[in-house]
Symmetry: C2
Subunit: 268 residues, 2 copies
């Protein structure tokens, strides 16, 4: 079986898409005809996947939207549905804890939910990442420089070496954590200069780039900064909530198509 | 209703205990007579709580042990059972994500599970902590200097200011995040000198100190470093797996009693 990153490379070519659609499915934002119905979340997700699976290279559900609602089964069903369409699933969970606990999170994310890739937090260091990294065929995206306003609070602190903290994380990811070639980095779309710095440090390491769409990142600037390669560009709210009417799936398709095309225009 | 930290102060006095028992209940480590039984986890936890609730100031379930098993209901039942005995529950989840996602995690932890306090990860910065901090009566423990081997990888990097990253986190917690007096810090037992540094920065801020017992931290050294005040000392495996036989609950009580007494000896 192909590893996550092999699968992504195939889809980027075959579907001509670096777009990842984020399935941050919030019960309170469902179209009126699906809201508060049993199965509303899974019906919504299936409709989004049906409408967009030929336009994406992966899906990225954010686990908090499911665990806040007790919707574990809807998350499992969503992941299996996407995989059934041939699309891998990156489960955005940003876990980080000591080794024996991380082993439990790895079981949760890779075995219970069957995720093909995950996001993790590096603050607790190398031994807390090891249990995930041992899954050689999965994709492990480590938070590096995030796109939110507070992302700078710790990540942009300057070290006595002259490096920023996020650059140090990029160095560790490149030189220590990527023995199995299964590591990627989360680098936000809203800081293209920093994204370019991380690209220089890490060569062709894959980046997960959130922050396009609702968060306002500029696609041309980020693609240039990433050397126009090895990026998965994630859009969540901008795609799945493009309309809150009965046409939500068709609107999501239009938004996904437009975003994919903008990415491709910036790619070449 | 008393806030989490008021409740803790009352129990530290009334029960004469700064001990927090960690409920990292691993299905694979249950006593043989409970293993793989439906309800094994909750039966185990109730027996541990029955045997120790007069010796502790709080319980700390680690959520990964439950979510890896699909044992969400056992976690809810455990939390309610402990609270029914008058003991608050710190749900160890170490979440960290952008604001709208953090709001969902806050719903998960405080509303779905009814936790009295949580742990959070500061790597993504101030705006990612805000949704938790707005729950004024809850306790929010921010990771500062952790007790695992890799804890130094990022936390002990030296900044151009001369401070370490973990000291910067302590400063932020003290000066920016604690407006409602509901912030604590996670500082490991295995680095007493660093714990003393964090105490100097943060005054009387409460510390959650894991790493006693299985992880090898020295109680006398950490109590001295903490100025013998405002600490919650957590022990998990050393208490709940003190025996794997049918006497597990009695053995847990003996271990909890011994740990509490060691803490009290170092307190005075």
């Amino acid at each position: 079986m192909a590893s996550f990153f092999e699968h992504i490379r195939t889809l980027v070519t075959e579907q001509n898409s670096m777009l990842c659609v984020g399935l941050d499915t919030d019960n309170a934002k469902l179209p009126a005809h699906l809201m508060d119905q049993t199965g509303g979340i899974i019906d919504f997700n299936k409709a989004i996947i049906d409408a967009t699976h030929d336009l994406v290279c992966c899906y990225k559900p954010q686990i908090a939207y499911y665990s806040s609602q007790g919707a574990e089964e809807a998350l499992i069903e969503t992941i299996q549905y996407a995989q059934g369409k041939g699309i891998p699933v990156l489960l955005d969970a940003k876990r980080g804890d000591i080794g024996n606990t991380a082993e439990q999170y790895a079981i949760e994310l890779f075995e219970r939910y069957g995720a093909d890739a995950i996001t993790v937090n590096p603050y607790m260091g190398t031994d807390t990442l090891a249990p995930y990294l041992s899954y050689k065929d999965k994709g492990i995206f480590v938070l590096c420089r995030t796109s939110n306003p507070g992302g700078a609070d710790l990540q942009n602190l300057v070290l006595d070496s002259g490096r920023h903290v996020y650059e140090h994380v990029a160095h560790l990811a490149h030189s220590e954590w990527n023995e199995h070639g299964n590591v990627g980095l989360v680098v936000g779309a809203t800081q293209p200069e920093e994204l370019a710095t991380v690209r220089k440090i890490t060569g062709d390491m894959p980046f997960l780039v959130p922050g396009v769409g609702a968060q306002g990142g500029d696609i041309e600037a980020l693609m240039k900064a990433a050397m126009r390669q090895n990026v998965i560009i994630s859009s969540s709210r901008g795609v799945i909530y493009a309309s809150d009417g009965e046409d939500f799936a068709q609107s999501a398709r239009s938004s996904a198509l437009e975003t994919r095309n903008s990415i491709n225009a910036a790619r070449n």
